[in-house]
């Protein structure tokens, strides 16, 4: 895929250019932490998972085929890694315990999430994030990954199909079901311009 500069870097790394790999990490490392955050929600663990993903990329560089876009290949590795993490009993147990305690983490008004102008907005944002977290935990694995990639990472249907190694038509179906579930879960919330939840 000659038009993909990341693929060119990956090919350079395959030929022994370690700096090309480091450039890929600098470009996508932070985004991977954010992606992993949608699965584990624990900042330190999300960072560790993102590091794992790049170590996997480093180890399995020889298997990379430039027919796949680097970004979708990276997300495929990351999604599989995060889902494996969720399948591990110990983490699942902690997650369920957190959900039983009410899901949303207490709001720290001293650290405003990005974009929040006031502590109140930050609190609403955090509470909404908690509701989305609970929604994600309930979705089946494929729906969850498709939903995260589309709604939270901004990938196109075609890119998601590449990540999930499925058809665009299947992605359409997965996203529709997940969006219907989101509409039900988020119905009590007012539109973002209102900035307040009705619950």
């Amino acid at each position: 895929m000659a038009s993909d500069p990341d693929a060119a870097l990956m090919l350079a790394f395959q030929n022994g250019d370690e700096r090309a790999f480091r450039t890929l990490f600098e470009r996508h490392g932070r985004a991977m932490v954010g992606f992993c955050h949608h699965y584990v929600k624990d900042g330190a663990r999300a960072e560790e998972l993102a590091q794992d993903v790049f170590l996997k990329v480093h180890r399995s560089a020889a298997r990379y085929q430039p027919t796949a876009r680097f970004r979708t290949w990276l997300y495929r590795i990351a999604a599989n890694h995060c889902l494996n993490e969720l399948r591990r009993g110990e983490y699942g147990a902690r997650r369920e315990a957190a959900a039983r305690e009410g899901g949303s983490a207490p709001v720290d008004l001293d650290s405003l999430p990005g974009g929040a102008a006031t502590p109140e907005q930050a609190a609403v944002g955090e509470a909404l994030a908690g509701a989305v977290r609970e929604l994600l935990a309930r979705l089946p694995e494929k729906q969850r990954t498709a939903f995260v990639l589309c709604r939270l990472e901004g990938l196109s249907y075609e890119e998601i199909a590449e990540v999930l190694e499925t058809s665009v038509s299947a992605v359409k179906s997965l996203l529709h079901r997940a969006t219907v579930a989101a509409a039900e879960a988020l119905a009590p919330w007012s539109a973002p311009d209102g900035k307040e939840a009705r619950q």
């Binding site: 993102a50 529709h176 973002p192």
Partner: protein, 159 residues
């Protein structure tokens, strides 16, 4: 009419429909209050999700921690060994097990034959008859009979 538009409504909101299909869906929406209500419900969720705060930024140690882990990775040659250790051990275990079993069988056979040879060297003693008769290698009863009467043969005719 809502049912057959379900998936199309989400794809329409995401701008993922081909233009011709998008026009058809828009036309349908213009005349179908039920589908419009469903579209608005889905659009509300999509809008809320787009307004979510971004995940927190990685800690300052993220990159440094990664490079430290990368530097601790095995070198290329050690990496191959590591790969063998990690990826092939499931294959190596049955292969090694099979080789060990084969070696034990061959060893046992060799030992068995050596014992037979030792016994055969002393066949001129009658007390060896019972041992020889018990050997699986002596399959024919006539062989056992011959062995049992070896001491009756003239000395020069014995094996």
């Amino acid at each position: 009419m809502t049912r057959h538009l379900d998936q199309e409504l989400t794809a329409l909101l995401d701008g993922a429909l081909p233009p011709a299909r998008a026009r058809e869906v828009e036309q349908h929406l213009a005349g179908c209050a039920s589908c419009r209500a469903e579209r608005d419900r889905l659009a509300h969720a999509v809008q809320l999700l787009a307004a979510l705060p971004p995940p927190p930024a990685p800690s300052p140690d993220f990159s440094r921690g990664f490079y430290a882990r990368l530097d601790a990775e095995p070198t290329a040659r050690a990496g191959v060994l590591e790969l063998l250790r990690r990826a092939r051990w499931r294959n190596l275990v049955p292969i090694a097990g099979g080789a060990l079993t084969l070696a034990l069988v061959v060893g046992a056979l060799a030992s068995y034959r050596a014992e037979q040879a030792r016994l055969a060297r002393g066949l001129d003693l009658y007390q060896d008859y019972e041992l020889v008769a018990g050997l699986d290698a002596v399959q024919d009863p006539e062989d056992v009979l011959v062995v049992g009467h070896l001491d009756e043969l003239p000395a020069g005719a014995r094996p």
